[in-house]
């Protein structure tokens, strides 16, 4: 009797295994609306319309829009990525960049969820003196001129270009767009540790 139940359990487990394996394979081979490039001193989300979104620590800035305008990662003394050759032995499904200089550290993680969605997490630790109205800002630089629009839904702005629609969800949305219409600036009130948990949804016509 025990063997019967074990056999039954085994068959159930194997069928579940088939489902999980096919699912994993499908996730790997399916068409993706983006490709992450994590090679130089930035993280790039390449879109199928030949354009890309670049996220680089060098563009982070701290400003009070009056006197102060500092780029904490203008000079980087150490940058690490999980895309180097030997890192293949710790290969995971996310893309990681760590940048630092003497006083400041910044970690960026992009985790693709499926073929349309990805999570972007930025955790920045900097050492500046607090001042009223001081902001920490990161930039999402799009390679083409575009129009960023507020979607009407809380925290979501989007842009459309060459058949791709990119939605950016920031639960604490406070943003600006630069004059050249290429850069989205996401701001936070300054504190020594600033965190961003963004969700990007990318839909492109195949």
């Amino acid at each position: 009797m025990k063997t019967f139940y074990l056999k039954l359990l085994t068959i159930v487990v194997i069928l579940s295994g088939i489902y999980l394996s096919i699912n994993r394979y499908y996730q790997y081979v399916q068409y993706k609306n983006f490709e992450i490039i994590n090679q130089r001193q930035s993280l790039i989300i390449q879109l199928p319309n030949t354009e890309y979104i670049e996220i680089t620590s060098k563009n982070d800035h701290i400003t009070d829009y009056e006197e102060i305008s500092e780029k904490p990662f203008n000079v980087i003394t150490n940058i690490q990525k999980n895309s180097t050759l030997e890192a293949s032995i710790v290969r995971t499904d996310f893309f990681y960049e760590y940048a630092e200089n003497e006083e400041n550290r910044r970690e960026t993680t992009i985790t693709p969820i499926d073929n349309r969605n990805l999570d972007l997490k930025i955790d920045s630790t900097t050492a500046y003196q607090f001042k009223e109205g001081l902001k920490y800002a990161i930039q999402l630089d799009y390679s083409n001129k575009t129009k960023y629009r507020y979607s009407g839904e809380p925290g979501i702005i989007y842009f459309e270009d060459k058949g791709c629609k990119v939605e950016i969800y920031d639960p604490n949305l406070d943003y600006d767009v630069t004059g050249n219409n290429q850069t989205l600036i996401l701001k936070r009130d300054y504190s020594p540790n600033v965190e961003y948990n963004l969700k990007l949804t990318i839909n492109c016509k195949e």
């Binding site: 063997t3 074990l6 194997i14 579940s16 295994g17 690490q80 293949s88 032995i89």
Partner: protein, 633 residues
């Protein structure tokens, strides 16, 4: 029949070689895939025939593992002959390889013919060998048709290890540790035992290195499949279950461990362990010898394997009562939970105790929770579900086989070491494919499925493993995928420098370049470099600083950098990788030892005028080798 098939295949091969000799000449063998494959197969199985024919032991077992010592002994004899005759090792070593080929054929013939007088043993054994290799052939077709590209080299380890037999061959250096021969080994991880076997497959006979690496990835799984099959056959007595086991074991891509995917010291140690495990019970002297062999193959992984054998011998073998075995099984489970939770809580050996090593490397070498959990699970994928079921089946079963406890112990060891997280913890996942597969096959076999159901299971299990293997391997290859889509460590543009180095003897030069170019020229051009791909971070920085601001001061700084021998004249090889780094301000390669830009296509349109001037000051000329290489000589 199997005697006849094996003999026919072998005679066919020899006939083909004779034909090739007459049509293409002796040189053609260097690039002949069939010859390279045959050389690898005969070299790796020579110890098996030595064990069977000479030592009258089982063909795949403990003695055949020890018989690998034939290669170091042969090498020592060749060194003695070289000293007595005054000939160089490069003149003598090729004859050793040819001798081995002849010896293999003689032993093979003796195995078949000698046996015919007394019985039918060779017929049976060769039948079993071919049965074991059948699933490996399916595996090879699957891998090399769907995943790998022709002549692709997807393990830099091959290039690194090649420098050792190269030095032995070209410079006549005898070394016990690879670091004595080559400056590519910053830590002593093994003796040159592996390298002597490796040399017999490549350098000593002068076959094309890239083709040899490629064929090695094809032939090694074929060889390994035999003892895996024999082990499973011993347990299940079933050809089908055993063949399924071989296929599943081969279809496990262990990130960092690489079980049967590459022939490197750690996988060689695993192969020796599998051979040793063919013995039902290793006696004390056997245990002693195999431990030495394993440790000398790989100081860390080999020691873990040896420790595992001693653990079997001292602990598992002495578990007699059901209660003892239950406690033991629960302890294994507790260990897994404990080490896993400790890691989640933040414990990590490399973070706490190996700060110095981490500093040299430039970053942590392991993934951390939750990524590390994902990485480990992905090694076996859905196969873990069956491991868990098998574990609980052993736990609730009245009769507990010691073999099951051994298999589960090994898996527990692997998990525990992995979550202890010393540097390169994922190497400790090695062997997972073999031990988990044996456990699963044994469990499934014991359930006694009817033949029709067996076939259905076969049809379901292969896709589970196959899909996971495909994804794992493909993900691994992304790191070797170049901008033109080629998935190989060998970059097309680098061929120019190899060709140049082959035509112009620069072996007396100490070349400084970017780390990736250094590993290429060190292994394929036998050139001394600054620790090749392990070029110290400070030296990388000083090289870049000199190239960006060439002056007497920055040059002096470069000359006194770590890894550059004192009073040595250096020759700088300016590459597209360096040029791109300067032009695009891409300095990621300066911060981590393993940060190696692979692509070398960014054309060097112009070398900076200050660099030219400073090289003139040093009386060096600029030799334009190709669009991607300029030698400052």
């Amino acid at each position: 029949m199997f005697d006849a098939i094996s003999l026919t295949i072998n005679i066919g091969m020899l006939g083909y070689f004779m034909f090739s000799l007459f049509t293409g000449g002796l040189e053609s063998f260097a690039n002949n895939y069939v010859f390279i494959g045959y050389l690898i197969f005969t070299t790796l199985t020579l110890p098996n025939f030595l064990a069977r024919v000479i030592f009258k032991s089982r063909i795949f077992g403990f003695v055949s593992a020890l018989s690998f010592l034939y290669f170091p002994i042969q090498f020592l004899l060749q060194v003695i002959v070289a000293n007595l005759t005054g000939l160089s090792l490069s003149e003598i070593l090729p004859f050793g390889v040819i001798f081995n080929l002849i010896l293999w054929n003689v032993l093979f013939l003796l195995f078949v013919i000698g046996d015919n007088k007394s019985g039918n043993e060779s017929e049976f054994t060769l039948g079993e060998i071919l049965s074991g290799m059948l699933p490996a052939i399916i595996y090879v077709i699957f891998t090399f048709v769907l995943i790998r590209q022709r002549d692709s080299v997807v393990a830099l380890d091959y290039l690194q290890h090649l420098t050792v037999p190269n030095k032995m061959f070209n410079d006549g250096i005898l070394c016990i540790l690879p670091g004595q021969c080559s400056n590519l080994f910053l830590q002593h991880g093994y003796t040159t035992f592996y390298h002597l076997v490796f040399g017999n497959l490549s350098t000593f006979i002068g076959t094309n290195s890239i083709k040899t690496f490629y064929m090695l990835d094809i032939v090694f799984p074929l060889v390994v499949s035999i003892p895996i099959y024999l082990k499973l056959k011993e347990i299940t007595k079933s050809t089908l279950w055993s063949q399924l086991g071989v296929l599943l074991a081969l279809l496990t891509f262990v990130m960092g461990g690489y079980d049967f995917v590459f022939f490197i010291p750690q996988t060689f140690a695993l192969y020796l362990l599998i051979l040793a495990l063919r013995e039902k019970e290793l006696k004390l002297p056997q245990l002693f010898f195999i431990s030495i062999l394993l440790v000398s193959t790989h100081f860390i992984i080999g020691t873990v394997f040896a420790g595992y054998l001693w653990f079997r011998f001292l602990i598992i073998r002495n578990l007699k009562t059901r209660k003892e075995k239950t406690v033991f099984l629960l302890l294994l489970l507790l260990s897994v939970i404990f080490f896993c939770l400790a890691n989640i809580a933040g414990f990590s050996t490399e973070k706490l105790l190996q700060e110095e090593a981490v500093k040299v490397i430039g970053s942590l070498t392991n993934a951390y929770y939750p990524s590390n959990l994902t990485v480990y699970i992905q090694n076996l994928g859905a196969g873990w579900l069956l491991v868990i079921v098998a574990y609980f089946s052993v736990l609730i079963n009245r009769k507990r086989d010691v073999e099951d406890l051994s298999l589960l112990s090994f898996i527990t060891f692997g998990i525990s070491f992995y979550f202890l997280a010393p540097t390169y913890a994922n190497k400790f996942a090695i062997g997972l494919g073999f031990f988990a597969t044996i456990l699963i096959i044994k469990y499934l076999w014991k359930l006694g499925f009817k033949p029709a159901m067996k076939i259905v299971l076969f049809m379901l299990l292969v896709p589970i493993w196959g899909l996971n293997y495909f994804v794992q391997y493909s993900r691994y290859l992304t790191f070797y995928t170049q901008e033109d889509g080629t998935a190989s460590a060998i970059v097309k543009e680098d061929e120019a420098i190899i060709e140049y180095l082959t035509e112009n003897n620069l072996t007396d030069r100490f070349i400084v370049s970017d780390p990736y170019t250094q590993i290429i020229i060190a292994s394929l051009g036998n050139i001394d470099t600054v620790n090749a791909q392990y070029m110290p971070l400070e030296t990388r920085e000083n090289l870049l600083r000199y190239l960006e601001n060439p002056s007497a001061q920055t040059y002096e700084q470069l000359l006194t950098s770590p890894g550059i021998p004192a009073r040595e004249d250096i020759t700088i090889l300016y590459t597209s990788r360096l040029h791109r780094s300067i032009e695009l301000n891409d300095q990621a390669w300066l911060y981590n030892v393993y940060s190696l830009p692979t692509n070398n296509s960014y054309s060097i349109n112009e070398v900076g005028k200050y660099l030219i001037e400073d090289q003139e000051r040093l009386n060096n000329d600029l030799i334009y080798i190709s669009d991607n290489f300029v030698l400052l000589k």
